[in-house]
Symmetry: C2
Subunit: 436 residues, 2 copies
Amino acid sequence: MSRGQMKLGAFLMAGGHHVAAWRHPDAHAPAGTDIDHFIGLAQLAERGKFDMIFVEDAAAIRERNPEMASQAGRSTSFEPLSLLAALAVNTTHIGLVATASTTYTEPYGLARAFATLDQLSGGRAGWNLVTSASELEAENFASSGLRPHSERYERAQEFADAALALWDGVEEGAYLPAGGDSFADRSKLHPLHHQGKHFAVEGILESPRSPQGRPIMVQAGASDVGKELAARTADVVFAASQTKAEAQAYYADVKARLGKYGRSTDDLKVMPGISPIVAATEDEAKAKQRALQELIPDAVGVALLASYLSIQDLSAYPLDGPLPDMPPTNLIQSRQQLIIDLGRRENLSIRELARHFAGARGHWQVVGTPVQIADAMEERFLDGAADGFNVMAPIFPSGLEDFVTLVVPELRRRGLFRSDYEGKTLRDNLGVAALT
Amino acid sequence: MSRGQMKLGAFLMAGGHHVAAWRHPDAHAPAGTDIDHFIGLAQLAERGKFDMIFVEDAAAIRERNPEMASQAGRSTSFEPLSLLAALAVNTTHIGLVATASTTYTEPYGLARAFATLDQLSGGRAGWNLVTSASELEAENFASSGLRPHSERYERAQEFADAALALWDGVEEGAYLPAGGDSFADRSKLHPLHHQGKHFAVEGILESPRSPQGRPIMVQAGASDVGKELAARTADVVFAASQTKAEAQAYYADVKARLGKYGRSTDDLKVMPGISPIVAATEDEAKAKQRALQELIPDAVGVALLASYLSIQDLSAYPLDGPLPDMPPTNLIQSRQQLIIDLGRRENLSIRELARHFAGARGHWQVVGTPVQIADAMEERFLDGAADGFNVMAPIFPSGLEDFVTLVVPELRRRGLFRSDYEGKTLRDNLGVAALT
């Protein structure tokens, strides 16, 4: 059966997705605050005809001890909506997906900001909706406090509905161009009257309808409530799966939920992360990986593992022993389970798991030649594990350059990826219908 | 006595500051959502060596009846922080001042967004702090509700203190460049421990210290509590004054408040609005003004006047009679008083006041030749009524082009305005010290 072509996202970070990227000789020292670095990455991804760039976020530092180098690929960071506004005017076709939280903002303000990004970019904006699990973020907004998982998602559902309704409240042609007698066609403006548990919004966006109908909605929720919200409201889900079987199960699960919302399976693209380390030969690729892994200090790897497991500390347990049993937490339950499963399946010690996990931060890592990487992607794409991939280059810009110059041509040769953009908007290129 | 040189801001809007700008033949039809239009305006102001561009904001439509053309110079609009991020990468020296409200956001999120704009622009960000008096905004965030003036300012004070402390919490060199062994110098990071009435914030910004020490703080508060907040925390105040005497009184009042906060009178720049209509001859300038005034329908002028007076309706009163007596409202008290005073002083009917007021939206309007406009500006600058001006061109781009090509050279010839930027940051160019 024909599966058409896969979708590709470029998950940008300052240094790179490998936890030790910033210590690598190729690291760009001021990457975290160098807008030209990000402009270069966005233009590189656009030359590769990627569907979108993707920027994650947390409104906080990432580690309680900021001296610790863990996850320093991020290092200092720009607020994503501002960063993507600056990239919008330096690109022409690539989608611009910013992460933003429903826990520390309000629907009108955020819907308005994404409407602006959408106008600035001519219909290329996407919103990766997150509910902010980090305690460090909660402390920065401590007047609100970290809410339990269920309450965060209840708020997120109401938030998403209000944002979608605000975007839909302005029909095409509602605001009239200057020079005429009237400023708006009131019959095409539909003020929202939302009175919910978490928000009350009575208003209209002062922004024309999106060139793509509405901004693209992206989610990465892997809990049951998260998948349900995605099935109801998202155009793209960005998943983290290690094995093909995990990826297939996730894919089937999410797609099976679409029907009850009157949506077809094509209307939601599942794009798991892939962390590719590519070189002309397999030996070179493995040497690249080793060079990165050797830059991870054990203390950093283990601290990062503990942080991802949402526990304070692993130092009471022997580095060469297995993970201890752990109670479930209020935080990102699915990620925790993924790490535990990986440790048990491959019988890894804490040290091994830390190093393994730290490298690709829990995502699927593929190390090899362009043909090997294209094989792996093609297999998951054809076998119902993915509609595309969010590419997490281990180091920027070199890791993304390698992917664009080595892997993309191989995918294209196989007919698996576009040679040019199909349309002008992100929605056109993703080929997803607007929700109604 | 030497007064040095004046500071200039370019107050950008989509169509123009004149209420009927959008109906003028020079109007740029899609101005409100055309980023290239704004890039052109910012670069034009930068060629004129303006200190800054200034963008106002309200997170709402401006009139309950969106069909009404009043204040349509704004028309549809971009969210300011996103707009200025896009302009930051298309300019090199001009300051970028965005309006943002303390009523519907939280200190960590907003301080972080301005830190990003500051990094994107190399130290050219400014924040115009407002407390959002509009009922239409309150309805968009109705879960919070419109708060009384005193409570809005109480929250604003706490908000400003928390934002300033977050910016000051990161010393120069706190975050280290990539490639080394450590990611941060913890001795240079000072987490905020703020527990206040409105906010609790325990955190550190993940952004290096501002290239200008901290973003520039701008305010326009004209109430007593507003002026006090400005004297304590602002680098620039943007005032609305009709007469020179009013402007001098405001200037003296604000400057006199600085001493008790240990600040010198040079540390706060007072920049009233000026709405210039300039042409080679006085007759031409007056003809330009007439052409604009004639585009204002009475219904629009009167509705706008009522809106600015914060009352529902003026239709019960004869158009050719005086303003009725009115009780003070919870909203922008000072603007209301300014309109009432103007009507009494010049014995204007509602129709006359509406038209007069609608044209320049309550700001000082000067119509004439470049020499006449420079004379008027020089007089207020030398007589202690202003340290500079926020220039509100009646129509974009032509009104700003006229000012840059006709008035700026005349100011420069008199030694009243710079020929080139003194420094790279907005703070350098304004010549104001960082608050400590």
